[in-house]
Symmetry: C2
Subunit: 167 residues, 2 copies
DNA sequence: GACCTTTTCTTGAATATTGAACTAGATAGA
DNA sequence: TCTATCTAGTTCAATATTCAAGAAAAGGTC
């Protein structure tokens, strides 16, 4: 069989192509759906909402910028811009880090927390209706395994050995 | 059990939460990975590449703007901007539609086709290595079913009854 | 301490995306 | 035909993202 420089076959099989199209289609629609839902109900895109969720789960509702960026899988640059926006909304504030003068903590404000508390049920609802309500328990389990395999494979080298995305 | 206005349970189960995190994590990493790969090897983001692929598969390598936007699941506005950019690169050109003077066809140029031919193997490789090479045949089949269920559920109402994404 | 490298975070410019407003042409009904 | 409405596509302004460059502090090493 014809192979590539990396040893795999050159093209995808028909089934793989069809799965790939379905994957692209579903993930695109899901992201659009949640972006719209959150823009409407919480006034921000999905990724910004995710930042607030991360902060809400951190001890004392605050995190170093770099740690937050790592957890949320975005660049520090993007996070800087995002936090600036969330700060304008009053949902996050920056705080100097006592132990490292270069550092900043992003802190979820009470306003931010309340906003999250208000919008979380609607968001969870959207996720459940779009995904979990439509899948059998076996499919949910299978999806979880598959997504972990993919994430592990794409994870940058040398990442924490304790598989943080399993927490 | 506490339920929402739509009748579902209020929160996700622990397993669902973990699957949802894995889903977000994997899809984010995948999109970033492919965006970088294509930006590096083809000089454009994933979605733009997808537009060229769509055109390459259309009869006479051309499509009405609205049809292309629908197939690629993006807004007409976004498509207008994207085609303007691809036109600058010489990979697409616009052509008036003979049957409807409002209409435009986006046409894949020969240059565009050659660029696609050059970069497709690398892209397919990236997709295979990130996804299919890591999954068992059962997992591939399962992923396909799951993604179709999700896509079908999010599909706007009144869409073509012949499930175009299965083609 | 002096020097070099690394880490942390921000900034600015270029690009991309969104949503609303808009133009031109098509369509349908009187 | 006249008019109202709808559709195709673009444009603008506001927002978001990327990438490269930069400032400031920390961490080595001599």
């Amino acid at each position: 069989m014809t192979t590539t420089s990396t040893g795999g076959p050159l093209w995808l099989t028909d089934e793989e192509q069809s799965v790939w199209r379905a994957y692209l289609h579903a993930t695109t629609l899901m992201e659009d759906h949640l972006d719209r839902q959150l823009q409407r109900d919480a006034g921000m895109p999905h990724i910004y909402y995710g930042l607030l969720v991360h902060l809400s789960q951190a001890p004392r509702r605050r995190m170093r910028m770099t740690e937050l960026a790592k957890d949320a899988k975005i660049t520090r640059s993007r996070l800087s811009h995002a936090v600036a926006r969330l700060e304008k909304n009053g949902w996050v504030r920056r705080e100097e880090c006592p132990s490292d003068k270069r550092g900043q903590n992003a802190v979820l404000t009470d306003e931010g927390f309340e906003m999250l508390a208000r919008s979380a049920p609607g968001h969870v609802d959207a996720v459940r209706h779009a995904m979990f309500a439509r899948l059998t328990p076996d499919q949910v389990a299978s999806l979880g395994e598959i997504m972990q395999v993919i994430a592990t494979g794409l994870q940058p080298e040398g990442v924490d050995a304790d598989l943080p995305w399993l927490r």
